[in-house]
Amino acid sequence: MTDDIDQNEEMTLAAEYALGLLSPAEAEAFEAVLAVDPDLRDHYAAWAESFVSLTDDVAPVPPPAALEARIQAAIFGAPVAKKGLFARLGFMGPALAGVAAAIVVLVALNQTGYLRDDSPLLTAELTAADESLVVLASFDPDAQTLVLNRTVGAPREGRALEMWLVAGDAAPVSLGVWPEGQNPATLTVPADLGALMDGAILAVSDEPVGGSTTGAPTGDVLATGAVQISV
């Protein structure tokens, strides 16, 4: 009986939430429980599906053509007439900002071995939008080495991962293919590219074994991250 009452309480709360009838404080509390309670999620999903049917009689109205460009600009930034690096990467500004915001200063690598007196270590965390791939990267400017540590994910079956450096508006430049079967792995970075590392974006793409043959990413860009000075 108590259970029935609780079930009804959850069920009606979910309906009120879906209808937008909860006060802001109640809605916030509801969302906190929603995140951890599968039953509540089921209740909410069922109501959302039912109530959305109330819009079935809403006729589609094509929005004005100019609106799509405005929306794309809002999401992807101003139209990139010049060599849009994100466009070429198939990767967009806001998502990148999200990744950058989530950057966590690297701790997983054993940094002590790389530390030098003068040049601070540069690090980046490359995280896929769905978190199916996470790569911690650490660049030592003195040794000109990029140490890569994949903490989540793996190359796709029969495919390779390739690392890219994107500095400012320049096109992505390959840093090399992730050595097969190695994790962590180390890539040696040419001095001219190493000089661009601070403040650049690192990206990892899905490529055929042996890497891209075009000089640019050919497969999906799986994850990106901003290079920062490690503290």
Binding site: A18, A48, S53, L54, P62, F76, D130, E131
Partner: protein, 181 residues
């Protein structure tokens, strides 16, 4: 309208930062979502602004779609509805409370064409709403499509604010019983 599986695929690709998939998603769904924004806001300029917010949110939250358990169109329409309601409420607040919007109320009765293409879900909720007392089902519609609050519903139906919740909740339980049949 694209197939459900296609829309799901577009959303999944958006989560990976696929700009072309976003364009395809927009082409497939923007007319419906704009219709929803217009229905809630009854103002073209505001609906356009709302639609922009909607797609920005879809793009940013695409990676969370899989975990929320909603079908793709439900997820998209719910975002459009919720953001439009937020705007509508902000507008009401700006104008001052107590605005009588009765004259702006669009008919909630679907036209014959809409009924003809009605999904089985819709048939079910329409049937179940029909089993409620008319003021209760009207209140549910007003909350969902017009963002009316308990305060506004209490004023409208002459129910004291401290009993309006019980007043509606009983009907929500009844509605659930019917929908679960």
């Amino acid at each position: 309208m694209a197939e459900i599986a296609e829309i799901e695929e577009y959303i999944a690709k958006c989560a990976l930062g696929d700009r072309a998939a976003f364009g395809a998603l927009y082409s497939a769904t923007s007319a419906k979502l704009f219709g929803v924004c217009l229905r809630v806001l009854t103002n073209r300029a505001e609906a356009e602004d709302a639609l922009q917010d909607v797609y920005v949110k879809i793009w940013r939250n695409a990676d969370r779609y899989q975990v929320n358990g909603l079908s793709p169109m439900t997820w998209l329409i719910t975002i459009a509805r919720n953001l439009s309601i937020d705007r509508l409420r902000a507008r009401k607040t700006a104008r001052g409370a107590g605005l009588d919007e009765a004259t702006e109320l669009p008919s909630s009765a679907p036209g014959p064409e809409a009924l003809a293409i009605a999904s089985s879900d819709r048939v079910q909720i329409v049937a179940c709403m029909g089993e409620l007392e008319p003021d209760r089902s009207d209140a549910v519609r007003r909350a969902y499509l017009m963002g009316e609050t308990y305060q506004e519903l209490a004023d409208r139906y002459g129910v004291p604010l401290n009993s309006i919740r019980t007043w509606l909740r009983r009907s929500l339980i009844k509605l659930k019983d019917c929908l679960s049949r």
